[in-house]
């Protein structure tokens, strides 16, 4: 199922870091696990409601939750409201790494990305992953052999939310600036484009998609300020011609 609300978790993860820093808690050892935990909780709550639906309804309801968070962010004047808030200081790791150094920050992100990919890969191929993929393939069949898809899907949703929370924590440290816009549907849309462009059905796909989208954006920005007018049609074309996304280009066709 496709969620259109993962910006909510990105924003929450970022805001957790921002708010904790606001109150003087700058240790990343605390901030990041709290960001992940808060997002897991939020995902459990949102998921418990939205996973009862599917298809377009699921997209709409996750979108609605994200928009709720967006307006919550706007209404929180203490934390900058509409204008957002500047991060008082980057997360600290007992002097182990300095995140304000761009190079070490890059390596932290890279390491976490590789870790996330590896984790995802393990999960996808585990018993749990098989249940999730089976439920996607044929839900009636899954129910008939005794899997109740709901709990498994909810768990997957929580895992995804938690990972997004970590991404949010990283994002806050990257931009040093947090706005409610992180929770807006535009952000979710960007995430969706990355996934669709890269290929939904694989672990590598979304990573490829993220690189491709950001690189395409940067190149087009160099050419013209109306870059979106070119990127849009490109995305449409990619959906039409690469049904399985960029990752699909590297797969052998089914025998």
């Amino acid at each position: 199922m496709v969620s259109f609300g993962h910006a909510a978790f990105l924003a929450l993860g970022a805001y957790v870091v921002g708010i904790l820093a606001f109150y003087g808690v700058t240790s990343g050892w605390l901030q990041w696990p709290i960001a992940i935990g808060a997002c897991a909780l939020l995902a459990a709550a949102i998921g418990a409601v939205s996973i009862r639906t599917s298809g377009v309804y699921f997209i709409m309801i996750t979108l609605a939750f994200a928009q709720m968070l967006y307006y919550l962010g706007i209404s929180l004047d203490v934390y900058g409201g509409d204008d957002g808030m500047r991060l008082k200081s980057r997360s600290t790791f007992s002097g182990l790494v300095d995140l304000s150094n761009a190079v070490s920050f890059y390596y932290v992100c890279l390491a976490l990305m590789l870790l996330a990919i590896y984790l995802t890969y393990r999960i996808v191929n585990s018993r749990f992953g098989m249940v999730i993929r089976a439920a996607k393939s044929n839900e009636a069949r899954s129910r008939a052999i005794g899997f109740s898809p709901y709990r498994y899907r909810l768990t997957a949703f929580v895992i995804a939310g938690a990972m997004c929370g970590l991404a949010g924590a990283l994002y806050a440290n990257h931009t040093n600036y947090i706005t409610p816009g992180l929770a807006s549907w535009v952000q979710s849309g960007d995430l969706m484009f990355m996934v669709i462009l890269g290929g939904m059905a694989s672990t590598a796909g979304p990573v490829l998609g993220a690189f491709a989208l950001v690189i395409a954006e940067e190149i087009l920005k160099g050419w013209t300020e109306h870059w979106q007018a070119i990127l849009g049609p490109l995305l449409v074309l990619s959906v039409i011609f690469f049904k399985r996304g960029l990752a699909g280009l590297f797969e052998r066709p089914h025998a």
Binding site: V131, N138, R143, A144, I145, F147, H254
Partner: protein
């Protein structure tokens, strides 16, 4: 072991199940026959838990399961095959059966080990594929298998659940003569090892396999009895056998 009393289900004005009483004894093969639109699939869907009856009671192994959803019933040992083929098309035959093995081996909140390299799932699955005659086709993606093979695969998945009761919804549907003969032979081999509810159109198969037969016409069980008695029953002949014979 299965006891159904007063099962009733309506779709609008249509009474698809109208006060059905039905029993399955331990290790019995009980066939349900009836003309098209008699409500056979509606009936079996209620047994499996995919449809909630409007009224009536289903008792399985001494326990009232009327309110239990399908996955819970499956875990209690009630396994079904579908009239319209229902397998995991994207997965190999072996994956399909291994998933069914996994379904009956406790919870699946295991996130780390590769399920496809887990011998406790793969080995039983392989044996079951051999048993239904798909051993050679274990690594073929289900989407690329023939209709007959899909039916065999469904049976393998149902058996993987180590069921106490098998619900076979037209296992011979859409099969060629040779394939259905093989399937009949295979079900004959299961007979006596499992309790079986067999919904089937193929009269030849029903009279060869069933210990007892129930006849469903317009949502009502008009007769239940041994094959000879059913064959001789004038009401049944009028309602159903007359069409074929």
């Amino acid at each position: 072991m299965l006891e159904v009393r007063g099962l009733t289900k309506s779709f609008g004005a249509l009474r698809a199940s109208d006060g059905i009483d039905f029993d399955v004894r331990e290790r019995e093969t009980h066939a349900v026959i009836g003309p098209n639109g008699a409500g056979k699939t509606t009936f079996i869907s209620q047994l499996a838990g995919d449809l909630r009856p409007d009224a009536g009671r289903i008792v399985f192994g001494g326990e009232d399961v009327t309110a239990l959803p399908a996955p819970r019933r499956a875990r209690k040992g009630l396994a079904r095959s579908f009239q319209i083929t229902s397998v995991y098309n994207e997965f190999s035959a072996l994956d399909n059966v291994a998933l069914a093995v996994q379904a009956r081996s406790g919870h699946s909140y295991r996130f780390w080990r590769d399920a496809r390299r887990d011998p406790t799932l793969r080995e039983p699955a392989r044996l079951l594929l051999d048993e239904v005659g798909l051993g050679e086709r274990a690594n073929v993606v289900a989407a690329n298998m023939s209709h007959g093979e899909h039916r065999q695969l469904e049976v393998a998945m149902a058996l993987a659940l180590e069921p106490r009761l098998l619900l076979l919804d037209e296992p011979m549907a859409g099969m060629g003569i040779e394939e259905s003969q093989r399937m009949i032979g295979f079900i004959a081999g299961l007979k006596g090892r499992y309790s079986i509810v067999l919904v089937e159109h193929d009269m030849d198969a029903v009279f060869r396999l069933a210990d007892r037969i129930s006849v469903l016409v317009y949502g009502r069980m008009i007769a239940t009895g041994e094959p000879q008695a059913i064959r001789a029953n004038p009401e049944v002949r009028a309602a159903y056998l007359g069409e074929d014979a």
